[in-house]
């Protein structure tokens, strides 16, 4: 090592990254903090102050959001939260189940139309979702699926499946073929290999793909807003949007429900966090 390289960096050069990172962090966090401030400022609480903490601390906005009912006395928050969970959960399950098998097929087998199929899957990801909105609306109307959870799950699956397939195919491609060949010689069928070797080895990739798929469905607003018209059928993003109406703007309710909605996603993120780093294949083959 040269003497120059061995020298400790000067205080200024050590400070330099922080001079950039601190303002970037503030810019990133400020909107979130401001939303939190609105949520904890009580119902109807708005503020002209730029400081991101509440002047008066109150949980009223949360209480109002959680306890909302409609004219028939239906607990709307519970119903809408359940809608969101069901739609996102079912989309994820449908996407992962179908995509795992499809991705394995694309990754491991040669068949006519393989390339075309992959490209078609990719093409669906390239167009903005809004392009398909009108045809989808017409389709859903004809099938009587407007205002239904099943309809929304099917619509979300059209984007979730190609996304999951591409992501998982990318991962399956990295799994060493010898492991499967070894299992073939051990006497395992393709299905056994898929279930007992490929899926356990792909747990990290499946977890991450499921997380993204869930988050996309959980946060989706435009399609849900278009296809759902009854309040009891709303998913949470549609309801959040409803707090900011043309005449009645309730920023505190908007902010409180936004925070509530982010909780499941955060919980899920922490649950699969350990899968985000490190793979399970270490040690299987020389590498």
């Amino acid at each position: 090592m040269s003497p120059k390289a061995a020298q400790a960096p000067s205080p200024l050069s050590r400070m330099a990254p922080h001079l950039l990172l601190v303002p970037v962090t503030i810019v990133t966090l400020y909107p979130v903090l401001y939303v939190a401030k609105l949520a904890f400022s009580g119902v109807g609480g708005t503020s002209a102050s730029p400081w991101p903490w509440p002047e008066v601390f109150s949980l009223d906005a949360f209480s109002e959001v959680v306890n909302r009912t409609d004219a028939q006395g239906t607990w709307l928050f519970g119903r809408q939260m359940l809608n969101s969970l069901l739609v996102s959960g079912l989309t994820t399950v449908l996407g992962i189940v179908l995509a795992c098998t499809a991705a394995y097929g694309f990754a491991r087998f040669e068949f006519p139309g393989r390339r075309a199929g992959l490209l078609a899957f990719l093409a669906t990801q390239m167009f903005p979702g809004i392009l398909t909105m009108i045809p989808l609306y017409v389709l859903m109307q004809k099938l009587g699926l407007l205002d239904s959870m099943l309809g929304l799950v099917l619509v979300y699956a059209t984007t979730a499946i190609p996304f999951c397939t591409w992501t998982l195919k990318g991962y399956f491609d990295t799994l060493p073929k010898e492991i499967e060949e070894s299992a073939i010689i051990d006497g395992a069928s393709r299905l056994t290999i898929f279930l007992k070797i490929i899926l356990p080895l792909s747990a990290p990739a499946i977890a991450v793909t499921a997380l993204f798929s869930f988050m996309t469905a959980w946060n989706e607003f435009v399609l849900a807003y278009t296809f759902l018209s009854q309040e009891a059928a709303y998913t949470m993003p549609v309801q959040i949007r409803n707090y900011v109406g043309d005449k009645d703007v309730q920023w505190s309710l908007f902010a409180a429900s936004s925070l509530i909605v982010s909780i499941p996603v955060m919980a899920l993120f922490y649950a699969v966090e350990k899968h985000l780093v490190g793979g399970l294949t270490a040690g299987g083959v020389k590498g």
Binding site: E181, A183, D186, G187, G283, G284, V285, K286
Partner: protein
């Protein structure tokens, strides 16, 4: 244990011929090593036997049953891969038990067989570990254990030691030999390492560009290579090969075969000369006299006393290895003054001549050595590179035990 028979086996990938009309028979309990450089078709052949590659044409039978269209699981084979190919999410025990579980073996049987294999391979203390927690040698042992528990008719090994370091490789080589001795199972083993081939095999099959070059015992492959490819591939350092022109001269009532060229001048007389002369008349391929002389580095000596001088070697590089010394150079034309040596010209290793001398013998750089060839250990090849059998000592002449030099085995 089973007999494996490959008849006219071919493998084509599109227009590319990878294996060509391969005929090979592996006897019951035999250890056959397929050896060759990268891309020679040896691994493809093994994968065809395993059922991992389809066979383009020809017949493959294992234990007397044609298995061309039989799935790998029903071929009664087990395979050990170069990359170990262990199941990373399973313990050592589960890795070894996997094949038995698939075949629905009872738990007591699984425990017994895995226990026996673990004992055989020294894996008893590692059974609950995952592959990631094992060293390279241990992982390869688990891969072997996984094959052993299946008690197959044939073991297939695909370069199993290539990923190990030199010391471990020697150790595992001994273990594989011991395993074969204990189990007596038929083994088909692929490697590019001639040392593994020579030390492990009952018979070696040398492949080159998809063709089988020679299949014989290690001693025959070494002492009687069928062609120039085998001659240079097996043995380290490689055999010296010099193109020469052969002529027959009659001296009195006897005939002498003269080999001249590449700086070499050798006279063969007696029975060898008689046989070669007869062969040249009978076989038109030998008649043109465009032959190649081959001699192993240890059969080339510095001429002393009244020993005939067959060639002169201007020394260019001396490599002392401790137990022995290798001397490199290019043969000088006899009678010609030595060419001025340009130090900037690097010695071309692939065409250089190699001489082995004892470690105690001092050889100076740039010295010119008079060389004599051990004519009993001479190899002659025709213009197509095929061995001229007429030049071989008669069968009565004992072939000395193989004297290989393994110090310079490829890494």
């Amino acid at each position: 244990m089973a007999h494996v028979l490959l008849q006219d086996i071919e493998k084509l990938y599109g227009d590319v011929h990878v294996v060509r009309r391969l005929n090979l028979s592996v006897a019951q309990g035999e250890f056959l090593v397929l050896v060759g450089a990268s891309g020679c078709g040896k691994s493809t052949t093994l994968r065809m036997v395993a059922g991992l590659e389809s066979i383009s044409s020809g017949t493959l039978s294992i234990g007397g049953r044609i298995v061309n269209d039989v799935s790998p699981r029903d071929r009664d084979i087990a395979m050990v891969f170069q990359s170990y190919a262990l199941y990373p999410h399973m313990t050592v025990f589960e890795n070894m038990a996997f094949g038995l579980r698939i075949r629905k073996a009872p738990q007591t049987e699984i425990d017994r067989r895995v226990g026996d294999a673990a004992k055989l391979l020294g894996l008893e203390d590692l059974l609950q570990r995952r592959p990631a927690a094992l060293s390279g040698g241990q992982r390869q042992r688990v891969a072997m254990g996984r094959a052993v528990v299946r008690e197959p008719a044939v073991f297939l090994f695909d370069e199993p030691l290539s990923n190990l370091d030199a010391k471990l490789r020697v150790q595992m080589r001994i273990e594989i030999a011991r395993l074969h001795k204990r189990l007596g199972t038929t083994i088909l083993y692929v490697t590019h390492d001639q040392v593994e081939a020579m030390t492990l095999a009952d018979r070696i099959a040398v492949m080159h560009e998809g063709y089988l070059q020679q299949c014989d015992s290690p001693s025959t492959i070494y002492n009687r290579p069928a062609n120039t490819y085998v001659a240079t591939f097996i043995g380290s350092p490689a055999m010296n090969l010099w193109p020469v022109h052969a002529t027959v001269e009659t001296r009195g009532n006897r005939q002498v075969v003269l080999l001249r060229g590449s700086g070499l001048s050798v006279e063969l007389d007696g029975k060898i000369a008689d046989r070669l002369t007869a062969a040249m008349t009978a076989d038109h391929r030998l008649g043109n006299g465009e032959w190649t002389v081959g001699i192993r580095p240890q059969d080339l000596h510095i001429a002393r006393g009244d020993a005939p001088v067959h060639a002169r070697l201007p020394v260019e590089v001396v490599e002392p290895l401790g137990a022995e010394t290798f001397v490199f150079g290019e043969l000088a034309d006899p009678g010609e003054p030595l060419p001025a040596r340009d130090p900037a010209t690097r010695l071309r290793r692939e065409s250089a001549s190699i001489l082995r001398v004892d470690a105690g013998q001092l050889v100076a750089d740039s010295e010119e050595l008079p060389l004599t060839l051990d004519l009993n250990r001479l190899h002659l090849f025709d213009s197509a590179g095929q061995r001229i059998a007429a030049a071989d000592p008669e069968a009565a002449v004992a072939i000395p035990a193989i004297a290989l030099n393994f110090d310079k085995s490829p890494a």
